[in-house]
């Protein structure tokens, strides 16, 4: 009991808080200096634009590039507001902030903390720019043929559209599907060969063979040097994230002080309160975190093994194939049903609009 009471005061220990903030700043891509954070806590205006930019980096769905840096601050601010709104950020004050970076640093710091509290932001950002050393395949379908954004209304489709145009597009789409299939088959064959020919080369015996990235590095030493540098840079960021995680509690105590705490409690009662809060927090996390059936998400590194032996945490292609086949069967049933429904509707329409002639696409 005694010890826990002392802990909240630990944040006041000189060095712990700046350390934590420094670790946070190092763990974020182009994170602002710790000084900016401190100024933002006091709502100093000079800290505002740095925080807009940081929030923009965090919330932008696309990996960082030079293109992002050249976007005007006003635009960044507007995108940040919209992204936060769609994530459900509850504070209205943010939406009312001026977009020229003249004030609002404290509100922005709150927003950043809100994001940090809700998810592992530094890790996610690092994962976005991770250097894939292996040949990877995602096992979930989330990005399989992901559309590149909401479908933009086609500018040409101004008046009524000839149904033949629609059919032509449909045919074009079918052709592209076929193209994808054959290209992908070829890619798999080549990948498999490269894996086969380089067996026994890898220093990690678990992997056994080289990946395309690794072989490419041997073929092109300049590219290899670049890869090495990127890898080392990533390792530095990883160390920073780990340091941040260890120092985190201090940061939250600092933020909590800013939000105002409850009335003074006696030591014992405070301890009780903290314990209960922790337990209930853990309980809430049980349903707050998106637990689906735990199908693995994210990319997996392809490894070729003649015997197909796999460790506990590894996936086997054969199992995945089974899952996909049942998924395929399911989807085919859904598609057939929808197509049937469409045909019915069309039949109804044809009756209702005598001028309409619909030539259905050839059956698949």
């Amino acid at each position: 009991m005694r010890r826990r009471r002392v802990d909240p005061a630990a944040g006041a220990r000189a060095g712990a808080l700046p350390e934590a903030i420094a670790a946070l700043s190092r763990s974020l891509p182009s994170g602002p200096s710790p000084e900016i954070f401190r100024r933002a806590k006091f709502d100093r205006p000079e800290a505002t634009s740095a925080l807009w930019q940081l929030l923009f980096r965090v919330l932008s769905p696309f990996p960082a590039g030079n293109a992002l840096a050249s976007i005007a601050l006003e635009v960044q601010a507007r995108l940040v507001k919209s992204a936060l709104c769609s994530q459900g950020y509850p504070r209205l004050a943010l939406a009312q902030l001026p977009e020229d970076g003249s004030k609002g640093s404290r509100e922005l710091l709150l927003a950043l903390s809100w994001l940090l509290a809700r998810g592992p932001v530094p890790e996610q950002m690092l994962a976005q720019t991770r250097v894939p050393l292996g040949d990877e395949m995602t096992v979930c379908q989330c990005e399989a043929l992901a559309s590149l954004g909401p479908p933009a209304p086609h500018l040409e489709a101004e008046g009524p559209v000839d149904v033949r145009h629609v059919q032509w597009l449909m045919g074009k789409l079918r052709f592209r599907w076929r193209q994808l299939v054959s290209s992908q088959q070829e890619q798999c064959a080549l990948l498999s060969k490269i894996h086969l020919y380089t067996r026994g080369c890898h220093s990690d015996q678990n992997l056994g063979h080289l990946s395309v990235t690794e072989a490419e590095m041997l073929r092109d030493p300049e590219g290899g040097q670049k890869l090495l540098r990127t890898l080392e840079h990533e390792s530095r960021r990883l160390e920073a994230v780990l340091a941040w995680r260890r120092a985190e509690p201090v940061f939250w105590q600092w933020m909590a002080r800013g939000c105002g705490r409850g009335p003074e409690w006696s030591a014992a009662r405070r301890a009780s309160r903290e314990t209960v809060e922790k337990e209930l927090g853990a309980l809430q996390r049980c349903w707050e975190q998106d637990s689906g059936p735990a199908p693995a998400h994210g990319p997996h590194r392809l490894v070729r093994r003649e015997d197909g032996a796999a460790g506990d945490r590894d996936l086997r292609a054969a199992e995945l194939i089974r899952t996909l086949r049942s998924q395929e069967a399911c989807l085919e049933a859904v598609l057939r049903q929808l197509q049937g429904q469409c045909r019915q509707e069309l039949a109804g329409l044809a009756g209702a609009l005598p001028g309409l002639i619909w030539i259905p696409p050839p059956g698949r």
Partner: protein, 404 residues
């Protein structure tokens, strides 16, 4: 002809699907270019690819990124060298007892690059060494005496000796050129770079030590991150929850527009919350506190649970209202990259990629084909849904028109 607005949407969706396919096709073609190039002939340039046998006198060349030979390795190499020389002599039927003493001056490069020549050949002209026709026979013989490393699917990291053997075995059948190894003397005559193909020599490649070190450090850091995730500090977790609650209660923000998937996910979450909360409340109510501290804890817990139940109910009502007032957005063809809450988050994201093991080309192809098929089916289904919606819209409108 379809009515304008209906077809516009359909066209837009089709165009979106076409763009997605084009994007994926581009990615595939990029990857194909790289793979094809790797399977053709190329040269692994010296310092990177080959970890040559450990050399005691390497000073005049570029420093190796790794590989300081141990005395044991050197000894092994010496033995091997002598054995090879003996084999050569036996093959040729010529005794060169005298030169034998000169030869194994522990200049492995001379051995490596001119296995067929007698020891009298100065080690300074490695490239030319193998170029003589007379060497072909002995080198072939050499190849036979050494264990052919080629055919062996080595899984273990080969020892130094194996590597040396492999290195020699590799060079032997191509007496025309030594490897363009930077550890040859700089005065070497220009050598024809050996045509290297992955098929024949791929298994001899070695990743450079600097890279191996960096990669292993990197993966260990990712692993540390994963393990830290699972044992999240309770202090930090509690503080975060408190902070979020403070922010939430300090404002009654407007609700963002939800997509159908999000509504489903939220409903699932709330259902789970309900059962967990019910369980916990029952636990607390059935507990028998022994002293005032425990009773106080119990009271606090129940109050907290009540607050959480209230929050969940409120959230449920908000969801209902939001869905009624603004119908949820239809599901897009694919989710925007990385913005999907259910992917890339997950219950326990493991940050270092796990392995996906396959056993044959056909298996890999089947897997990839199925993945693509499921994605295509997704697209098709989405388009059918759009078409259906639009058709129903048309029907409703025409019915309305007929009524007036």
């Amino acid at each position: 002809m379809l009515p304008a607005d209906c077809s516009r949407r359909l066209v837009a969706e089709l165009q979106g699907a076409l763009d997605a396919c084009a994007h994926r096709q581009l990615q595939l073609e990029q990857s194909l270019r790289v793979c094809r190039r790797l399977l053709q002939a190329w040269e692994p340039t010296g310092t990177w690819a080959w970890e040559p046998p450990p050399e005691p006198e390497t000073n005049e060349e570029d420093p190796l990124p790794a590989c300081t030979p141990s005395p044991q390795d050197l000894k092994e190499l010496e033995f091997l060298t002598q054995a090879l020389e003996k084999a050569v002599r036996v093959r040729r039927g010529i005794t060169k007892a005298g030169e034998r003493n000169k030869a194994p001056s522990l200049k492995p490069r001379s051995i490596v690059t001119s296995p067929g020549t007698t020891a009298s050949t100065p080690p300074q002209s490695p490239g030319q060494a193998g170029g003589h026709a007379s060497d072909r026979r002995p080198t072939k013989g050499l190849r036979q005496t050494t264990v052919p490393a080629k055919g062996r699917p080595e899984r273990r990291l080969p020892s130094v000796r194996d590597r040396t053997r492999a290195g020699i075995g590799a060079r032997a059948p191509r007496p025309g050129a030594g490897l363009r190894n930077q550890h040859m003397a700089p005065s070497a005559a220009p050598q024809a770079p050996e045509a290297f193909t992955l098929k024949e020599k791929g298994h001899l490649l070695r990743l450079p030590a600097a890279f191996r070190k960096a990669a292993s450090q990197n993966s260990s850091l990712w692993a540390q991150l994963s393990s830290m995730q699972t044992s999240d500090s309770m202090d930090a977790a509690a503080a975060k929850t408190q902070f979020l609650r403070n922010i939430q209660t300090a404002s009654g923000g407007s609700q963002p527009r939800l997509s159908a998937a999000e509504v489903e996910a939220e409903a699932r979450r709330l259902r789970k919350a309900c059962s967990l909360l019910r369980l916990r409340v029952r636990e607390e109510l059935s507990a028998a506190p022994m002293d005032w501290m425990q009773e106080y804890r119990c009271l606090l817990t129940l109050e907290g649970l009540q607050a959480m139940v209230g929050q969940c109910l409120q959230r449920l009502q908000e969801l209902r209202a939001a869905v009624a007032e603004r119908p949820p957005l239809p599901c897009p063809v694919g989710r925007p990259p990385r913005a999907s809450p259910s992917c890339g988050g997950g219950a326990e994201p493991t940050w270092s990629p796990q392995l996906l093991v396959y056993s044959s080309t056909q298996e890999l192809q089947t897997l990839a084909a199925l993945k693509l098929r499921v994605a295509v089916l997704d697209q098709q289904i989405h388009l059918e849904k759009v078409l259906l919606e639009e058709e129903m819209g048309v029907q409703q409108r025409s019915a309305a028109l007929r009524r007036t």
